[in-house]
Amino acid sequence: MSPVLFELLLRSVWETVLMTGASGLISLVFGLPLGLALIATDRGGIAESLWVNRILGAVINGFRSVPFIILLVALIPVTRLIVGTSIGTWAAIVPLSIAATPYYARIAEVSLREVDHGLIEAARAMGGNRWTIIREVLVPEALPGIVAGFTVTLVTLVGASAMAGAIGAGGLGDLAIRYGYQRFETSVMIAVVIVLIVLVCGIQWIGDRLVARLDHRG
């Protein structure tokens, strides 16, 4: 592999890490509250409101049912509004985040739903309000699942970011298609695959370690 290609590989790794990390973080910041809202407004939840729950659920399902490649193109006006351009790595972060947020919201919802209702009742019996229940019970008790779900989301984002090449975002997927596939540079293809494997394994390993440390459920 030539030094030029190697430099290109390094840049692509950075672009992938940037896209995955930034959109992952955004999906965490918006997805977790959405997940909380989903269980809080559901039947028997701490802020039961079935119509809010239905609307939220429908919107989330709507976003989740659009294939990412279509979302990528359809969101171009939104991207332009937020980032100022619809091309490049930063521009890709917008559709990636918008796709990952409802995905992560559902994953977080599953973990939060598993929190024993008795614990919520105990917090209420202690005089806790909704905020107390969220801060002291729901999030800490679901944290292992929330972190494990975040790991899954990050790995999914690594894959999804490959498609972002379609709007000139670069990244490892883009490199593999343009050089490895279209120019028959097998060494590039192999290098990209190896880097992706290392990246995914690394994310999963860190995630698993973190979950093990956080989980006191015995």
Partner: protein
């Protein structure tokens, strides 16, 4: 003009003293779930410093009842007075400070797995907005009270069931409540651990003068620690009174059935041979309690009725330091005069006597 006039406390406090002595007063509480009435007109008072046990089978309405006391459940109608204040129509926000006055212990402990023992115990104080040093000091104090000081930094998952419940009790006491609610606190524990948890509750009750209301389906729990008992069935209180009196003289069928496990019963092999009419022996059931059970009842009986009476089964139990006895006596022969004499003597001594039937041969 701006001078503050502070009225003396006894004048501002218009609630009669008799009422403030009742920590809890329930008036005609009703709650339905669909077609079933979980509470069907419950009226009850819990006096300051006592342990009131509410017993009933599962589905009798116990859990709904105890949850009405801290507003986790709302009655359809009726009133709930906690320390003289009606709470059943308060909003969630108004209930929150009030719940801090009421500790609650749960059957499945409900400890937070992500928090250490110490953090669990300190949580009610954190909710109350107290500073961290105060919370930790109080947690340490309570962990010492329940005998778990060395587990302060451990996580609940590493504790045994009994230890978890001790943490649950410590947590319920953290905010210095006026009332402790115990929701089947020992039902998930083995008999030995149950005894130690009950002893702890009793100790807390007498040391801190803390009022305790507990619900259970086990008479043994009532017998071990309760001062008074209320029996609930199909959403109604069917019987209420001092524990030893209810044990000595259960009035309802449900109470007798709940007592069945811990009070002497006629052995089935004798019961199956009982017949009406004549027989070689007559089997009597004698219930005697309190003063009546202290004297030399049986020796007095045999001195006054010259017959070879036989004690078939039974015994004297001590409930709340009161003797509560049930004896099964066999009176021989067809001599109805002797039988009548025996019954008259026992009734005169304050015992309740029931002729269960006759047996053909000796049992």
């Amino acid at each position: 003009m701006n001078q503050h006039i502070t009225a003396p406390a006894e004048i501002t406090d218009s609630v009669p003293i008799a009422r403030t002595e009742d920590v809890v007063r329930l008036v005609d509480l009703k709650r339905r779930f669909g077609a079933t009435a979980a509470l069907d007109g419950v009226s009850l008072t819990v006096r300051k410093g006592e342990i009131l046990g509410i017993i009933g089978r599962s589905g009798a309405g116990k859990s709904t009842l105890i949850r009405c006391l801290n507003g986790l459940e709302r009655p359809d109608s009726g009133e709930v007075f906690i320390e003289g204040r009606e709470i059943s129509r308060l909003g969630e926000r108004e209930l929150q400070p009030l719940r801090r006055r009421i500790g609650m212990v749960f059957q499945h402990f409900n400890l937070l797995s992500a928090k250490t023992v110490e953090e669990n115990v300190a949580l009610p104080l954190k909710i109350d907005g107290r500073p961290r040093p105060e919370r930790l000091a109080r947690a340490a104090e309570l962990l010492q009270l329940v005998g778990l000081s060395e587990k302060a930094k451990a996580y609940p998952a590493s504790l045994s069931g009994g230890q978890k419940q001790r943490v649950g009790i410590a947590r319920a006491l953290a905010a210095r409540p006026a009332l402790l609610l115990s929701d089947e606190a020992t039902s998930a524990l083995d008999p030995e651990t149950t005894r130690s948890i009950l002893a702890l509750l009793k100790d807390i009750n007498s040391r801190l003068r803390l009022t305790i209301l507990l619900i259970t389906h086990e008479m043994e729990v009532i017998r071990s620690i309760a001062d008074r008992v209320a029996v609930i069935d199909a959403g109604r209180i069917v019987e209420e009174g001092a524990v030893w009196q209810v044990f000595a003289n259960p009035r309802s069928e449900i109470t007798r059935s709940l007592l069945g496990g811990i009070r002497p019963q006629l052995p089935p092999e004798i019961a199956s041979r009982l017949a009406a009419g004549e027989g070689a022996e007559t089997i009597l059931r004698i219930d005697v309690a309190g003063e009546a059970a202290r004297g030399p009842l049986l020796s007095d009986l045999s001195a006054s009725v010259p017959a070879p009476l036989r004690l078939v089964h039974g015994g004297i139990d001590h409930v709340q330091n009161q003797p509560v006895g049930t004896l099964f006596l066999a009176v021989p022969g067809a001599d109805t005069g002797r039988l009548a004499q025996t019954i008259a003597f026992l009734k005169d001594r304050g015992a309740r006597v029931e002729v269960l039937g006759h047996v053909a041969g000796p049992v």
